[in-house]
Symmetry: C2
Subunit: 433 residues, 2 copies
């Protein structure tokens, strides 16, 4: 990393002057994609499109080069002095979970446009192209059931999207396959399957994604910025069911019940105990059952529940821990099924390994933080991010976390603009070397 003092003085103070643009974009986004509770920007749905249109408009006003790929990811490039050599890429996604917050994903794209706007204002021409990408479908896990591996836009950009997923992922809102949902958002699905990937790894010096931290770690540590060490892998099962048998709530003796709710409660309680065990042994794990439903067409106050549907979201920084908990989940379900004469079916399970962030970039980011006077710590990322796909494709990838006050994937997500500005400064510093 060359010293920051080698750059024109104006650059190091340029972020401040671009912050009103960032504030304008956050506020427009919140207003245009608000749903009365939080914001809703469905993957390949209307809210995501509104966000893309807004960013595209901002990029036009900055006179950036604008391109869309076959999956309708949006690339906004500030040309550098050398247009042939490897360039930098930054960006994140613009979709959200249902009734989510305004910052998850959007903060990274807006940080990117803030950096490019700041550079435009100083008339400083960077050595290399800097491309900001607004990615589609990162939150696909919330919007598509069936078999798919989420992170749709980044995998499509990198040629890592499996053609089968276009049919096996089913939109939860419309019940139609991903291909149809994408077509409705303007994607030419034939192009997507047949054209060469838009992002060729050899052409990039690196990918840097700024994102809000999704937990309370930075807030509790009183540090504005995190340098991500690795992205947790996970074990996901979207369509699990516990099947028992309906019976009269007043007349069926305990001994002959096959109660899906009681069985599932035992299962969940046992899994939580195992989680605590793993943590006690120093293991890294989070275990979530975010959805749980008896069948509202059949269930009743006065009936023993014959069915309960649920999902699993289990994450860890260690693949071996994921394998351990997967084995536990399956074995425990077998035991409970035997004891209670119920049946567990986990449906398709997806296991994704953790992804380490590029060690050189991480070290450079920590040095840059010291140089810029930004307090920062290294930490794992609990959430999956587009950066992991860039890393898997062979592009040096790293992530900057910004402290947030109320967690993420909820309507109350919050960041302080001074923390955002620190993150944008670090991002600019990295994109200029």
């Amino acid at each position: 990393l060359a010293s920051w003092s080698d750059y024109p003085f104006a650059i190091s103070h340029s972020i401040e002057r671009a912050l009103p643009l960032a504030e304008h974009l956050f506020s427009e986004l919140r207003e245009r994609t608000g749903d009365g509770i939080g914001v809703t920007r469905a993957s390949y749905g209307p809210g995501e499109q509104i966000a893309h249109d807004l960013l595209s408009e901002a990029a036009r006003s900055l006179n950036l080069e604008i391109v869309q790929d076959a999956a309708r990811n949006l690339y906004m490039t500030l040309p550098g002095a050398d247009r042939q050599g490897p360039s930098w890429m930054t960006g994140s996604h613009l979709d959200s979970v249902p009734h989510g917050g305004n910052y998850d994903g959007a903060a990274g794209v807006i940080a990117g446009i803030t950096v490019l706007a700041a550079l435009r204002q100083t008339d400083f021409k960077p050595d290399r192209d800097i491309t900001l990408v607004a990615i589609r479908g990162e939150e696909a896990g919330s919007w598509f059931r069936g078999r798919h591996n989420s992170l749709l836009g980044s995998r499509a950009a990198l040629g890592r999207l499996d053609a089968e997923e276009l049919q096996s992922a089913i939109c939860v809102e419309t019940g139609t396959p991903l291909a149809e949902r994408m077509a409705g958002a303007g994607v030419n699905v034939d192009d997507l399957v047949n054209r060469r990937a838009a992002v060729v790894p050899a052409r990039y010096k690196g990918f840097i994604e700024l994102h809000i931290e999704q937990g309370p770690v930075l807030e509790q540590a009183r540090v504005p910025v995190g340098v991500v060490s690795a992205i947790r892998g996970g074990l996901w099962a979207r369509e699990c069911v516990c099947l028992g048998s309906y019976a009269h709530a007043g007349a069926e003796p305990r001994s002959s019940r096959r109660d899906a709710v009681m069985a599932l409660s035992e299962f969940i309680t046992a899994c939580e105990a195992k989680w605590i065990d793993i943590e006690k042994q120093g293991g890294d794990l989070v275990f979530t059952i975010g959805k749980l439903h008896t069948d509202s067409n059949v269930n009743a106050l006065t009936k023993v529940a014959g069915e309960a549907k649920f999902c699993l979201d289990i994450r860890s920084g260690d693949r071996s821990t994921l394998e351990e908990i997967q084995a536990y989940v399956q074995e425990k379900a077998r035991t409970i099924a035997g004891d209670r004469r119920v049946k567990f079916d986990f449906g398709p399970m997806t296991l994704i390994s953790p992804t380490e962030m590029n060690p050189v970039l991480r070290q450079e980011m920590l040095s840059a933080c010291a140089e810029l006077g930004i307090k920062a710590i290294q930490m794992p990322s609990g959430g999956g991010h587009d950066a992991e796909e860039f890393a898997k494709a062979g592009i040096p990838a790293s992530m900057i976390f910004i402290r947030n006050q109320n967690g993420s994937h909820n309507p109350d997500e919050a960041i302080r603009m001074e923390d955002f500005a620190q993150g944008a400064r670090l991002l600019m510093r990295m994109l200029l070397h």
Copy 2:
């Protein structure tokens, strides 16, 4: 009980000849109120009306005296020799739970009409009037939320329906108050509130309700008929909620989670352990959570659940056991709420005491079974029944249970017609003394 041999020989063999009518009515009911899964005859809804029309038609063809009360309960009377003295009443309800079975309730009404048809065929005039009643709204617990005590029709008939319930019970299908739902089924609600109760206890010698057993006790004991000793009381809470806080499934550490699903699972597992304890000490208890839902508008694979709604249906033959489990439920919820920083709210809780069936009638029924060669046992009823309201109003009340193969409140309810015939024989024997 006078000896059966004092009655004309034709009577004791008349049930057989009326069975085709019973079979016809069961089959018409199944066909006309089937829903593709089971049968659906909503309290004060279209399916219940279809059943009432069918019975009314059968009663007309038998030339019975037909009357409806203000709550649209249907009374079908076979006149006796003495029209002034106390008469017998039999009957049950014609509504069902959503996607329920064909026999719960209907078997008692059809047994009654079978008895009356059998008597009509023999031209034997009983000493007293025998009135068959087809009761409305017994399954109101499945069809109305808000504050109400179920058993709507029988309580209205006996002047035991609280006028406030007409507003505080809310139809789960239409979202409108009970009064409006009743009006839609032809009830004049002003009449219902202001008119004298239709059933005056002093005018009745007794009320006998035939009903399918709702659990597997008779089937497991290989006995066709049960004489009900008491109807279990219960503790009901229709609108319970556990409130936590939504958070990112991958990034929120366990220590800072307020996970509604994990908290509720611990609660359910603890309640089941307490249930087992109570049973080990010889206590009578069944404990059911028939509905359990995270909020489908907000929940997601990738979010810690911030809310879970559920309901409680807890029953016992002992009031003290109900009080013990109520105290446990509340104390356990308080402890878990403190440990996990969640909140439990059980909403309105209804505690109804157990009701003993009339000891004289029970003894007479057991004698009659011995005389008729019907194998029978005494047993408590797990379900609540209209008979308990008749008992509470001061009418000697008793119940005949018929063995069923697949439990009740489910689409697979099943009875054998020979068991039904045994029950009808016992019912006829009781209604003639």
